[in-house]
Symmetry: C2
Subunit: 386 residues, 2 copies
């Protein structure tokens, strides 16, 4: 492992009764009464969650920022910053999935100064303070509910970039698996793919002797792969929702990467695509990750053999190449079985886009901590995924 | 799983350079200059760690409480409380293993009021505030460096009891695997046994659908069982120390028990013994845990079958009973291979003690969250372990 420092101060409240703890949790962090609710397209009004939250917040002055998009947009974040400033907001409650939470993180960080929010994302400005916020999770996927990272899309420049600050850990996140019962099937699938992708990014890391991490990652991956199809077929199966929901949270709350960062090249490759084609992150990952694996396994095979052993108990009589292919095919086939597309062309991407994507991903230079991708590597992976 | 709330605010600093971060870390939590160093029998003076820490603390007023015992004693804690009050201590630095840290936790919690420290342990008094403290870990075993629990022995009453408070999470813990190089072999063994016991206590829990936890627990246990014998044979093998050290921390920092408490009966059974016979906790656990497993597996076998599958990939053609015995024997034999005794009589316990132990463990009534032990169960387990 590499030397590391780990801290995750978020309080995770998990279970059927978790939503009801909202007022008590807010009280721990502010005596103020001005709350900003942030949410997405309004499904929380259909499900009744909105009404329940409003009732729980009796006695507070509740302001709202509705309409945070999937792939949350800078323009919407700016509206949120204005809302916080105009209304002297003391605490923000984000209700939604990773997009709503990621957007809320930037609102939180950009509202205590006059900095341009995009300067925070592009590292031109540092976060010195943030408005405290908590979350109620309605889509399980990104792990944003228990980490300090965020991904924001700037549609003016077609850039989708990740940023983070220890100041934007949610103070608390309330996770009730029952809130996932009404998720459309494709969102359930995308969440499973996204959480598995996070595990893959961390499994393929830059460190040696990662036995503890390898064991936890492969164990959580197996649990998600067992519960995931049940959640797809039986949307109201509590145990399946419970496992996939907790799995997605631990997949990216830092527990799985004590002593390394992980590769994260595939996330860059995907962000370049979804900054132009507004596709769900999980869809992009399902297409690109297997191609990243196939390409990089030819350059650096050993880890891919261990992967097939750790996660799929691959038959020890197979050749190294067969083991590698077994592991990659198992991931790819699993995602296909959830209904994910396998080619970028299926979601509208054209060959002439690939060069543009590649240039965009290279904004900070060659990248990937497990295997550093140069432009020719990136183009080869994109072409294979087309 | 059961509904749960998880938070662990401790900052974990891990690696070869971790000790040097002491002054920066203290500065985050206090502007005061009065530091109390707590430590054990003085091995830190032989290894040079003491001198290094004193040098790192230049500019601070350093006071000391030396001599915190294995199985830390109430009488010593009281001296520490006095030292904090006499010297207006702003921050405590615990240098040692679980005993030093557990003692420091009670000093921390009892120094901000005039409460009798034992009343905190026996839950007659609640902790309202605590002096902040950090740790430098020199023995890897209990996980106390990243949790809010503590076990204290009262030699006046021969009681050894656990207690805890969210206020006594260490602010930070600095873990350098190299500091373990000089550990005596038996302390390395006891640490491995202790950390595995924590995993066992949590694996045998009261909840259903614990797939995420089961996967993490069995994975970490496998990693410890692989690295442990290497650390025994090659005390200066960095990777083996790294794996067992991180394994012991995650084994009891809450990561492994999201959604359940675990059983914890065996810890009670052991504490009753080591409150009278001053044996290392790991030794007591190595003797008693396999007997608890043998006894309880007859009453509630299903979980023991899954255990053998999860941790030891037990041959699926075996009968249920054979699988159960395979798993228990594998644990017991592994601990014996580390040099642990297998019988209480080997450490001096006499048959007439058993009744006294049993009464002591029942102070709060029948116990064990996976399987509730009555007095006859307890006596049967003690007899088998004698």
């Amino acid at each position: 492992m590499n030397d590391f420092t780990f801290q995750n101060p978020t309080t995770l409240v998990f279970g059927k009764e978790s939503t009801d703890q909202l007022p008590q949790m807010i009280e721990k962090y502010t005596e103020g009464k001005n709350i900003l609710l942030t949410y997405g397209g309004g499904s929380i009004k259909k499900t009744g969650l909105y009404d329940r939250v409003i009732k729980l917040l009796e006695g507070y002055n509740v302001f709202e920022l509705a309409g945070i998009e999937p792939n949350p947009r800078l323009s919407t974040v700016k509206k949120g910053v204005q809302a916080v400033k105009d209304n002297n907001i003391d605490f923000i409650v984000a209700i939604g999935g990773g997009s709503v939470i990621d957007g809320t993180k930037l609102i939180s960080a950009a509202s205590t100064s006059d900095v341009d929010p995009w300067d925070i994302v592009t590292r031109k400005a540092t976060v010195e303070s943030a408005v405290p916020f908590g979350t109620i999770l309605t889509i399980s996927a990104t792990g944003s509910e228990m980490n300090s990272g965020s991904v924001i899309t700037n549609w003016e420049t077609n850039e989708k970039l990740g940023w983070g600050s220890p100041l934007v850990f949610p103070k608390f996140s309330l996770l009730n698996p029952e809130l996932l019962y009404t998720l459309p099937k494709n969102q359930t699938a995308n969440g499973i793919i996204d959480s598995m992708s996070h595990l893959l990014e961390q499994y393929f890391n830059e460190a040696s002797n990662t036995e503890i991490g390898d064991a936890m990652i492969s164990g959580v991956m197996k649990a998600i792969m067992k519960a995931g199809p049940v959640a797809m077929e039986q949307p109201e199966n509590y145990e399946a929702r419970e496992t996939t929901m907790l799995g997605a949270t631990v997949a990216l709350n830092g527990f799985m990467r004590l002593g390394y960062a992980g590769d994260w090249a595939t996330h860059n490759l995907e962000h370049a695509v979804s900054a132009v084609y507004d596709i769900p992150h999980g869809v992009g990952l399902a297409i690109i990750f297997p191609e990243w694996m196939r390409y990089v396994s030819k350059k650096s095979p050993a880890r891919f053999i261990k992967f097939a052993e750790d996660v799929f108990d691959v038959d020890s009589s197979l050749s190294d190449e067969e083991k590698i292919n077994f592991g990659i095919d198992a991931i790819s086939n699993f995602w296909t079985s959830l209904g994910a597309p396998t080619k970028l062309s299926e979601v509208g991407v054209k060959e002439e886009d690939l060069e543009v994507f590649a240039e965009k991903t290279l904004i900070y230079g060659p990248y990937g901590n497990f295997y550093k991708l140069q432009k020719e590597d990136i183009m080869a992976i994109y072409h294979a995924a087309l």
